[in-house]
Amino acid sequence: MNALFEYLLRLGDDSLILGHRLSEWCGHGPILEEDIAMTNLSLDLIGQATSFLKYAGEVEGKSRNEDDLAFLRFEREYKNLLLVERPNQNFGATMMRQFLFDAYRKLFFERLVHSTDSQLSAIAAKSLKETKYHLKHSSEWVIRLGDGTEESHEKMQSALDDLWKYSAELFYQDDVDEDLIENGIIPAVDAIKGEWDVLVRNVLEQATLIIPSNNWEQVGGRKGIHSEHLGYILAELQYMQRAYPGMKW
C-alpha cells in the first residue's frame, strides 16, 4: 500500500463527506445568509476534495481520476473521520461539528504548507485561507448559540456531548502517518493536539459550554469502519455513477 495515496484519501474524503453534509442544508438554513454561508463552506470543501483526490489518483498511477475516487469506491474504502459523517441534526449541531473539525484543519494546514511535497503544500496554502474563514464562522456561531438563550445553550451542550467522542479521531495515527512524517511530507499530529486543546477550550469557555467528562474515543473511519450513516450518504452521492456507469456528464 502506498502511504501517500492512503493519506490523500483521508484528506480528500474528510472534505468530500463534510462538503456533502453541508450541501444537504441548501435551501433549509435558519436564515438566508446562513444558507449562503454553508454553501460557501460546502463549495470550499468540495474544491479541496477535488484537489486531494485528483492528486491521489496521480500518486496511485492506475489512471483513476478524482471522480472515480469520489464516486466509485465501496464503503469500506472511504477513509474519512466518523465526525464528518455525523448527521446535520440542527444548525447548532452542524456548527459544533464544523468547529471541532475546522479547529483541527486550520492547525493542520498551517503546518502542511511546509510539506516537502510541493503539490501538498500548494493545496494546503489555498485550503488554509478558506479554513481560517470557516473556523471564524463556526467558532462565532458556537459562542453565540452557546451563550445565547437557555434553549440554544442546551442544544449546543447536547451537540458537544454527542460529538466530543468523535474528536479523538482527528489525531488518529498509524504506520501510514509515521512514514510520511519521517519524510516531512505531513506534520506530526502530537504538536497539533496541544494547540487544538487550547483553541477549543478557549472557544467553548466563551460559549459557556462544558467538555463532557466521558472521554470515550470513538474511532474507525480511518480504517474504513464507518457508522451506518455513510452508506446512505454514498447511496445518494454515487446514485448517478452507479445507475449510468461510464457516462460523461
Binding site: C26, G27, D35, T39
Partner: protein
C-alpha cells in the same frame, strides 16, 4: 389646497418617469406604484428562494464533482438574489419577515414553475436553460425599470442568470451528445419543462390585469405575449442545434411575422398551479415554513447574544 399638492406631485412623478429619471426610495410616489412594486419585488424574491428547492433536490446526487460545485454555486446565487430583492422591497417600506410570512400563509405568490418536480439530472439542464432563460427574458428589461433600487438589483442578478442559463444549456448539450439513455433523459426533461417555462411570462395579454399600468409606469417594458414570443424564437434554434425536439406539433416558422407560431398553452393548468394545485406547491411551502420554524431558536439566540454583548460593552465602558 391639499388636492392641488397631490396633483403637482403626481405630475412631477409622471414627468420623471416619462424622462427616464429613476424613482428613488425617498422620492414621493403614488401609493399604487409603491404597492405594485412591493408586490412584484417580493414575489420575485420569493421565486428566487423557493426556486432553490427544485435544484437543491439534486445537489447531493450530482453526477460528478465539477457539476456538484457548479450546481451548488448556482443555488447559492439564487439565495443571493433573494437577499438583494428582499432588500429592494424593504426600501419601499416592506417588512421582510411579514413578506415571508405572507409567502408561507399562501397570501403571496411566487413563480409557478417551481411547483414542478425535478425528476432527473437532465432537469438541472432544462431548468437552467429554460427557466433561467425565461427569467433573463423577463429581467433584462427590468434593468431599465423606473424604480432605481429594483433596476440596480436586476443588473447584478441578470449577469448571474445568464451564467446559469449557459450552464444549463451546457448540461443539455452534453446529454444530447451522450448515450441513447442520456439523450432520452434530456428530451424527457424538455418535454416536461417546455410548456411550464412558456407559462412563466404570465397570462395572455388580454387577461393580464396589471400590464397596462405597469407599462405606463415603466416597471414593465414588454407585454407577456411579446416576451413569450421572444423566448420561443430564441429557444427553438437552440433545441435544433443540439438535436432535441420541442414538444409542440403546431410549432412552425412564420415568415411574415419573422417568428414562430406555436401551439395553444394550457391556461387551465396554469391557473390550477397558481391556485395551489401544482404537483409541488404544498411541499415547497412546507419546506420553507419548516426552515423558518426550525431556525427560530437560532435567530432568537443570535438576538439574545447580541443584546448581552451590548450590555457587557456598556458596562465595560462605564
Amino acid at each position: 389646497m391639499k388636492e392641488h399638492n397631490i396633483e403637482v406631485l403626481e405630475r412631477d412623478f409622471q414627468a420623471k418617469i416619462d424622462n427616464d429619471i429613476k424613482i428613488e426610495p425617498k422620492d414621493w410616489m403614488p401609493d399604487e406604484y409603491r404597492q405594485t412594486l412591493i408586490r412584484q419585488i417580493s414575489q420575485h424574491a420569493h421565486s428566487e428562494v423557493v426556486g432553490m428547492l427544485p435544484e437543491g433536490n439534486w445537489i447531493t446526487r450530482a453526477p460528478n464533482l465539477r457539476r456538484k460545485a457548479v450546481l451548488l454555486a448556482k443555488v447559492q446565487d439564487e439565495a443571493g438574489h433573494g437577499l438583494y430583492l428582499y432588500s429592494a422591497a424593504e426600501t419601499l417600506g416592506a417588512d421582510r419577515e411579514q413578506t415571508i410570512d405572507d409567502l408561507h400563509s399562501g397570501k403571496a405568490k411566487y413563480s409557478s414553475i417551481f411547483n414542478y418536480p425535478t425528476l432527473s439530472w437532465a432537469d438541472m439542464g432544462a431548468v437552467g436553460w429554460l427557466v433561467d432563460g425565461a427569467a433573463i427574458m423577463n429581467q433584462v428589461p427590468l434593468c431599465r425599470c423606473s424604480y432605481g433600487p429594483y433596476a440596480r438589483a436586476m443588473v447584478r442578478v441578470c449577469k448571474e442568470e445568464s451564467f446559469h442559463q449557459r450552464q444549463g444549456f451546457e448540461i443539455m448539450t452534453t446529454l444530447a451528445q451522450g448515450t441513447a439513455e442520456q439523450k432520452a433523459m434530456a428530451q424527457d426533461a424538455l418535454n416536461r419543462f417546455w410548456w411550464p417555462a412558456l407559462m412563466m411570462f404570465g397570462p395572455p395579454d388580454e387577461d393580464s390585469k396589471h400590464t397596462k399600468q405597469s407599462m405606463d409606469w415603466k416597471i414593465k417594458r414588454h407585454t407577456n405575449d411579446e416576451l413569450r414570443q421572444m423566448m420561443v424564437d430564441i429557444t427553438v434554434p437552440q433545441a435544433e442545434l443540439i438535436g432535441l425536439t420541442i414538444p409542440d406539433p403546431d410549432l412552425k416558422w412564420n415568415k411574415e411575422k419573422g417568428g414562430y407560431d406555436f401551439g395553444e398553452i394550457n391556461w387551465d393548468e396554469f391557473w390550477q398551479v397558481v391556485k395551489g394545485n401544482g404537483p409541488c406547491n404544498k411541499d415547497r411551502i412546507e419546506t420553507r415554513r419548516k426552515a423558518k420554524e426550525n431556525g427560530a431558536w437560532v435567530r432568537e439566540a443570535a438576538n439574545a447574544f447580541a443584546e448581552k454583548r451590548k450590555l457587557r460593552n456598556t458596562k465595560k465602558a462605564s
